[in-house]
């Protein structure tokens, strides 16, 4: 689809909006302060997708991860520009996270399944740090303040968590952990 978008295929553009609009919108809502901000962010994210579609390399991951990466970059930019405040109360945020079931995450994207399996190996407090940072846009300092946790511990949890997910993705890419 992304290759077709890069070549200016209007049908592929429509298909992309239909297929990934809910994902982009949901991420934008979670990482924006207001619905209006989320609307602006969604438009900017799709513009980035149109501009970047030509760089998509299927050997580097799924189109869904490619789009999620673009969305994250844009939303991090916007968070840094617009406010030092977190997008929402973290307690509320935690309640809104809908983790994929390890058995069905592959329906979302193979990378989501890999991440789910990696997260399952983390301690609850490590997982909470990743949730607040990656799903709700809190900075490491904000996470430390909210959880009354030393900043160094937050950094350590974030580092170990991301590296764990990365390892699962890389190992799976080599087929070592693939379940066939």
């Amino acid at each position: 689809m992304l290759q077709r978008i890069a070549s200016g295929d209007a049908a592929a553009v429509r298909e992309c909006i239909d297929q990934y609009g809910p994902l982009v919108w949901s991420i934008a809502r979670r990482l924006s302060r207001t619905p209006s901000d989320a609307e602006d962010a969604t438009q900017e994210i799709f513009l980035d997708i149109w501009r970047s579609a030509g760089r998509f390399d299927a050997s580097q991951g799924s189109d869904k991860v490619f789009i999620a990466m673009i969305a994250r970059r844009r939303l991090i930019d916007r968070l840094r520009k617009t406010s030092a405040e977190p997008p929402m109360d973290p307690v509320e945020a935690l309640e809104t996270v809908a983790w994929a079931d390890p058995g069905t995450a592959s329906e979302t994207a193979i990378e989501a399944e890999q991440a789910t399996r990696a997260l399952a190996e983390l301690r609850p407090e490590q997982r909470q740090v990743l949730e607040l940072g990656l799903l709700h846009g809190l900075s490491q300092s904000e996470i430390a303040a909210r959880l009354s946790m030393p900043l160094g511990t937050v950094k350590s949890f974030m580092r170990r968590g991301l590296i764990k997910v990365r390892e699962y993705m890389n190992v799976d890419a080599k087929g070592v952990l693939s379940e066939g």
Partner: protein, 286 residues
């Protein structure tokens, strides 16, 4: 370095941190950073199993924006090497972001106060590189040799502007020069159609530019958006010995309520972070 890469991926870097990472940067670091980004995106996907439908009106705006994007020249070339780095550039821009001015503009200040606030707002602009718009259209006389009668003659930008101006719902906003030396003697206006999202800038006295050195860039302040982040209207050039120009505006985002237009002088291709000192024209709506 791993800590910096993780911070870059999770929350972005301060300018000092970005500079530190740039010094350390290498192919290995770049590859590692991409892996971390993929990991972060995967976690986000894993935590987004329940999604909300994209509102129909927003989906339509995105579709319109896509149509405008792919219809704007240069079309697919825009996706080439120079422009394909837009997202990365945007991330880099965040790292060098300056705090935005906190001053607000009162509606009672009048035009001059509005212009002053706009200049302040421009100081904080952080934008993706701008797509080039069509070459500047000069108000030139009709061609000496008329085309064959059976072939329709495409309207010039000046003619398109005139047609737009004739529409009852179009807006005409005067542009005023700033104190920037490059703005000396500049006069002009903006004609904007909020329905079709099309518009034109019309100038006299705007200095010619060398596109290899700098270009003019258009910005649209939308009352429905944060005024620190105006909509990019594209870049344009003014050829030498051109007294009068008409420039089409290429807004890549939907402009709900245009509050003001501005023109700055930027590096070729537009800017990520706008320069502060080269605002050459400003115009505020009503």
């Amino acid at each position: 370095m791993v800590d910096l890469l993780i911070k870059q991926v999770t929350e972005g870097l301060s300018p000092a941190e970005q500079r530190a990472l740039d010094v350390l940067d290498s192919e290995v670091a770049s590859a590692y950073s991409r892996d971390l980004e993929r990991a972060a995106a995967a976690v986000m996907l894993a935590g987004s199993s329940t999604q909300q439908p994209l509102p129909a009106a927003l989906a339509e705006r995105v579709a319109q924006q896509a149509a405008a994007h792919f219809a704007s020249p240069p079309k697919i070339g825009d996706l080439g090497a120079a422009r394909a780095a837009a997202v990365d550039a945007a991330r880099t821009s965040a790292a060098s972001a300056r705090p935005a001015p906190r001053a607000n503009r009162s509606g009672a200040y009048g035009w001059l106060a509005a212009a002053a606030c706009l200049v302040l707002a421009i100081f904080a602009w952080q934008r993706s590189p701008s797509p080039p718009v069509a070459p500047v259209a000069q108000q030139t006389p009709p061609p000496v040799i008329a085309p064959p009668a059976e072939k329709p003659v495409p309207p010039t930008p000046a003619e398109e502007r005139a047609a737009l101006l004739a529409k009852s719902d179009s807006l005409k906003i005067p542009l005023a020069a700033t104190k920037d030396p490059a703005a000396a003697g500049v006069t002009g206006d903006v004609v904007w159609d909020p329905v079709t999202q099309r518009g034109f800038l019309h100038f006299t006295g705007l200095a010619a530019n060398d596109p290899a050195v700098h270009q003019y860039q258009i910005w649209i302040f939308d009352a429905g958006r944060d005024k620190r982040y105006p909509v990019d209207g594209g870049v344009f050039d003014v050829p030498a010995n051109t007294a009068e120009v008409v420039v089409p505006i290429r807004a890549e985002l939907m402009v709900r309520k245009p509050a003001a237009f501005a023109v700055t002088v930027e590096k070729p291709g537009g800017v990520v972070v706008s320069g502060r000192e080269h605002v050459v024209a400003l115009g505020a709506a009503g």
